[in-house]
Amino acid sequence: MTLEQGIFILASLLMLGSALAMVTARSMFVAALWMIGTFAGVAVLFILLNAGFLGIVQILIYIGAIAVLILFAIMLTPDVMGLKPGPRYTGQWPLAAVMASTLAAVIVLLLVRAGNDWHIADAAPNVTDFAVQLGEAFMTTYLLPFEVASGVLLVALIGALVIVRDE
């Protein structure tokens, strides 16, 4: 087992473990903290995949922005903070558990069956100056998706403001 594989396994275990803890946590606040652990694991996987830039983005946006946003929302909502008692799951949770594990089994089965039958490229990607490449691509080939994404973000922010505004 190489060092790389070791890191991978550790990160995956951290990630999946936090994810499981997240969906089972009784308190929403705790769940959100576990979610941060999951995001961190994903970031490690990104770095292992030579996508360092994306790993940083993952930490900045998911942990720095989205998770914090969710934490704030939780703290502002007494209902979620566990001040009102009640079960954490809906009545259909056993069904959902069975289905989700079936789906997982099906996908894993398929992947194992497929084995290594992918068109794996020989070379590793050239990631020197990768952020520069990405930036240039955003301004040229992917200009339209970039603009659309920024538009969506803007509209979403304005929409969110409109929704929460006091009448």
Partner: protein, 104 residues
């Protein structure tokens, strides 16, 4: 070549996806559902980047997609949390079981 096979990533991503799916399907709190969905989006991102790393080495599309997905996730979180706030204000609950105006 990396010493980790592509399949490992795909399997981990699939498991993460299914955990997120379970969360989205079973949580009573709207915020819990939202968090489940975030996990699913992360799983998708792992797949995108893994395929980029192993198959489409020369292109940028895999990372581009991942970045766009992150953007959409951010937008989604903002809107969804705003909705939760508004919901809480008007109905005094964020439990989805109690939000069933569309029932029979």
């Amino acid at each position: 070549m990396s010493s980790i096979p592509l399949n490992w990533y795909l399997i981990v991503a699939a498991l993460l996806f299914c955990i997120g799916l379970f969360g989205a399907l079973s949580r009573r709190s709207a915020i819990g559902i939202l968090m489940g969905i975030e996990l699913m989006l992360n799983a998708v991102n792992i797949n995108l980047v893994a395929f980029w790393r192993y198959v489409e080495v020369d292109g940028l599309a895999g990372q581009m997609f991942a970045i766009v997905v992150i953007t959409v996730a951010a937008a989604e979180a903002a809107v969804a949390l705003a909705l939760v706030r508004a919901l809480y204000r008007s109905r005094d609950t964020v439990t989805v079981e109690e939000i069933d105006l569309l029932k029979w």
